[in-house]
Symmetry: C2
Amino acid sequence: MAQPIQIALIDDDEAVLDSLSLYFASQKVASTGFSAAPQFLSALGQDKRFDCIVSDVRMPGMSGIDLVRELKSRNVDVPIVLITGHGDVDMAVAAIKVGAADFIEKPFDESRLLASVRAAIEETRQRENADEQKDLPARFASLTARQRQVMELAVSGLSNKEIGARLDISPKTVENHRAWVMERIGARNIAELVRLAMKYDRRS
Amino acid sequence: MAQPIQIALIDDDEAVLDSLSLYFASQKVASTGFSAAPQFLSALGQDKRFDCIVSDVRMPGMSGIDLVRELKSRNVDVPIVLITGHGDVDMAVAAIKVGAADFIEKPFDESRLLASVRAAIEETRQRENADEQKDLPARFASLTARQRQVMELAVSGLSNKEIGARLDISPKTVENHRAWVMERIGARNIAELVRLAMKYDRRS
DNA sequence: TAACACCTAGGTGAAATTACCCAAGTCGAT
DNA sequence: ATCGACTTGGGTAATTTCACCTAGGTGTTA
């Protein structure tokens, strides 16, 4: 379960990028460097995943704070630790307000940065876990009889066509019920639905 | 969990069909009648599912024993209870040998038939459950590191593309690993894989 | 009566899965 | 050094899912 941590480093200063990635590597933490925020965003678009982002605040083009805003608006839930060489209180406040995980002023101890990164990742994980579990019974209870019926068959691995044959309704209708179930339970795919359904079963 | 039982009734004698379906209905057991085996088979082809088949032995065209053989050759694992008005020992032996669940001679008590059907369903369920559980640890252990890696990500709900991005391999390769995992674990779809993986996790 | 929720089912279009096929490279063992 | 297992990745095609949409029928409730 102790999957490796993958960090995105964003800084227009190559020297900082190199130095930080070297440090992270020495701490057995994988990192990928980007010299600008848009480059990082394009990596995200290619389904690359990162557990945490460490970004400079002041960069030509898109600033670190802009990046935070952009990710929030995309509903990308990756913690961002901002660092700066010209830190001031106002900027720090603005950064935290828009949702940055932390704001560190240079010069800083590298171990301080790593600690902040670790804390941010842990916090995000716990929040996601809490979100997933929250009101699980209530969410299952909110399903109608038909929806629960469809869900149980879907969770047991039947296709929409097979479920339709069993319940004697069209596969299309099954599809609709299924979509409702997904939305109400808050599952993004069948795998998640199965996990949540099994958790619920075990609890009740 | 006490899902309703669905029975297929096959007999060329409409009177028998009506009488039995009436009895089953009175016992809160759903049944569908077919006047010939091929009609039943075509319903199966349309993804209809039955927990048990109750079929006459002697019918024009395909006999009850023929039906048993046909289903075995198709690997359809539904128990079949055969009934006959002209039962003889040889036929009974032949029926059981090819894999019929039971063989009942007319005249019979309807409750006797239902008991036989229930027993057959129960036996099949237990066998299927045992098959599913058998050597689960061994099957998971037989996975290579890469396959287990792919499996864990797949089970957590990631698409092949996302898994590929994480492991830095092409989605196509992920697809191949996934197919191997499915075969080795013996899961027919993601839902089953998730269930088995969760069972395994809980046990270990 | 009107609003609302639910079940039903169809359409479109994009994305993903599944099931096959194939080949090339690595690596360890016989 | 050939064999087998594993990893990698490409192709093709069928099927399925997913995300939208519309829309009629039913039943309940304000």
